[in-house]
């Protein structure tokens, strides 16, 4: 019996596999908090892009607790933690010539952020 069957394929697509974890963990931040994205440069997998590192933003929303990709990719455990939608102004990211009204929202984990 092959490991990948038609039935399994259909279930895989229709059910998916959420990365959210139903764990009650204290969030480091709450909406409205000022944060700074860490100046971190892991050599393994990470989902914090270079363009936000060291930049100042504001927590817009707490999405809940999710698997942490940096550790999960190395098969070093899921390390579930809060993920936030963090708002950065375009000028904060790209300098004073960026449009005044524009903003960027990016999803960042607890371990990517420090209080500002």
């Amino acid at each position: 019996m092959p490991l990948l069957t038609v039935e399994l394929a259909h279930r895989l697509i229709s059910e998916g596999r959420t990365a959210k974890r139903d764990i009650a963990l204290t969030a480091k931040f709450k909406p409205g908090d000022k944060v700074v994205a860490r100046n971190m440069h892991p050599t393994g997998h990470t989902r914090i892009p270079r363009y936000v590192r060291g930049r100042h933003g504001i927590i817009d929303r707490d999405h809940g607790v999710f698997v942490f990709p940096d550790s999960n990719a190395e098969l070093a455990g899921e390390k579930p933690q809060h993920v936030y939608s963090v708002r950065f102004t375009a000028r904060e990211l790209w300098g004073p010539d960026a449009p005044a009204r524009d903003v960027l929202y990016i999803d960042l984990w607890d371990d990517y952020l420090d209080p500002a």
Binding site: P2, G16, R17, V83, V103, D107
Partner: protein
Amino acid sequence: MSNHDHNHSHRHNAPLSDIALRVKALESLLTEKGLVDPAALDAIVETYEKKIGPRNGAKVVAKAWTDPDYKARLLKDVTTAIAELGYGGLQGEDMVVVENTPSVHNLVVCTLCSCYPLPVLGLPPVWYKSAPYRARAVRDPRGVLKEFGIALPAETEVRVWDSTAELRYLVLPERPPGSEGMSEEALAALVSRDAMIGTAIVMLEEKTTP
């Protein structure tokens, strides 16, 4: 066959490219080892080629436009609301809807790879996964939108959403003026895939682009 233009390859008798042969080889290897059933692969291909696509998202949008209670449910819990219409699953397990308004325009990107809300939009187009879009959408969204034919006034707030985690974003475009009284079905036909990514505006005439 004499009238054919032989500058393009005919699927029925063109030699397989090296990469096609490599994929065929890999598939045969995995099948032989009893690890995959080719019928399962057929099913996955068919699902994404024929069954899941932006018409799903268009239905969500049209329903949100015409049914205020549905829109409220959608904005509160997207995943459950799209499940009401039978949509959900892989790469749409945790969704967020971002609403365009007269003062806010949203644009979705995945700078790091190609994350995209598959259950409501199907597979992403090549341009969404391309280096120019991934690089520039966060840095110069207005320039990107101009390339797509959208010029926004300076007073509009442009919000770019970089899909770095497992949240998948769907833009709820503005309902075009003059569409009052249109049926949900007719409205859905107006909603292009690009409008749900943020690179198009929904217009009253039938969409000419995907």
